[in-house]
Symmetry: C2
Subunit: 270 residues, 2 copies
């Protein structure tokens, strides 16, 4: 059966390097027999802000509007706005989601944050029980593919912006892994606008080579949900005990006061 | 002279705990003689997405639109859209900016990310030379004040979400400190919706107590810009040498492979 890929794409210009990366992914994946869908957020004029208009009909508590509670209920009752429902349908069908964007302020651009805030509603994307390694989307893969303005050494553990692994943790653990996705290593295009046209082409060629085998890649490692107790979600004492003699904790964020595992957010098998 | 405070506020409901925290700040700071301005982003229907409409008149390269370059030029020529210009005026006048929001997906809601993406344009908020400790806004203070859905232990170094300090680094280093702001410790309201009314009131009382002395607080520590060389922005060898025998590196992100300094993103003097 054909693998289905959703590319959530955020760049204003079809001439951008980001567009080139998106187009390359569409081309290579289609050539491999995948069904590829692109959500071109700027082109769609995707609504970024989480408001009561995201719910069709009456909200439960207009006086004290609470977005998470209201959208959970609206999802259950099929009353989310059509743009959200349409994106949720794409997510449900997808085996892999690629988020393609230029890094804005150490994160995704607002329009993509809006997609995350509005599409990944409680009930649909997670519940108290279905999170992390037991998450809703544990049979799906997701990855970040992004350009930076800065060169790679600036995002190192002795560079001015600090270790890129730290900045990726909230995105990859807090959003993708939170929903259960198997997180593939990010594709980072370092400062393409500072490169020669040949170097840019070479970056895209490398991406195409990777895309060819992408679906078979091992995902990044995150601690399984059962490492944590079910009441306070703390590392279980017997699990913590196992890490006492180890160099690193179970994950970058779950570091137990130890040094961070090297490159755990950019490379599989770490 | 009266201190000027700008509160950038993002919640949909005036009955929310976030609104209460914002209202408390307005009240306490006004009572202390501060001039307080609130940018109520949902009420303003603040545009979150970075598009060519943010520039008045012709863009330089419509074919290959590049947001950073176009907005830098538009800022220089006074051709940014009026909503951006108005927010930039508030930033210029402010001595302190408080970002008040509910945490969405380990970060700010999209509407607030849109304020960051659109208002903090190159030229106005930073340049190659004016960043970090030499940043444009080094005589100003800024801070995050936010609510979470999860309880505090879940955001610890042995909790399921990982150390909150890690998730704060990209926001506080990559946005606030990047622009030069002296970053005050964040005000974190842990899971107010799971608390009793009394506990919620107590959280707001603590905030009011803190607000009374807020302007005199010592900011969080970040490494000074001159720790890094001017070419590749790597820690200078003589500076790195000083940290060899130390327990921690110069900052959470600039960790040099050492354990992370405890609570450096939530407490001053660390």
């Amino acid at each position: 059966m054909a693998q289905k890929v959703l590319i959530v794409y955020a760049h204003q210009s079809p001439c951008s390097f980001s567009a080139g990366a998106k187009d390359a992914a569409v081309e290579v994946l289609k050539a491999k027999g995948c069904e590829v869908t692109v959500s071109d957020l700027y082109d769609m004029k995707f609504k970024a802000t989480a408001t009561a208009e995201d719910i069709i009909g009456e909200v439960k508590n207009a006086e004290h509007f609470r977005y998470a509670q209201e959208t959970k209920l609206a999802w259950e009752e099929g009353r989310l706005s059509s743009d959200i429902t349409e994106e949720q349908r794409k997510v449900t069908e997808a085996d892999l989601i690629i988020f393609q964007f230029p890094m804005y302020w150490f994160s995704v651009p607002a329009i993509m944050k809006g997609w995350i805030d509005r599409v990944l509603t409680p009930g649909f994307a997670y519940s108290q029980e279905k999170r992390y390694s037991q998450g809703m989307f544990k049979d799906k893969k997701a990855m970040l593919s992004f350009t930076t303005g800065s060169h790679e050494p600036m995002f190192s553990a002795n560079g001015i912006h600090g270790d890129i692994n730290v900045s990726l943790w909230p995105l990859q653990n807090g959003i993708l892994h939170y929903c259960g996705f198997q997180v593939l290593a990010p594709q980072i295009f370092w400062a393409p606008s500072s490169q020669t046209p040949e170097a840019r082409k070479s970056m895209l060629d490398d991406w195409c080579t990777r895309l060819d085998k992408l679906m078979g890649e091992e995902p990044l490692s995150f601690p399984p949900l059962d490492y944590f107790d079910e009441k306070h979600f703390q590392l279980k004492p017997d699990v913590a005990e196992k890490f006492v003699s180890q160099e690193f904790g179970p994950a970058l964020g779950v570091h137990l006061g130890k040094p961070l595992p090297h490159n755990s957010q950019v490379k599989a098998g770490v």
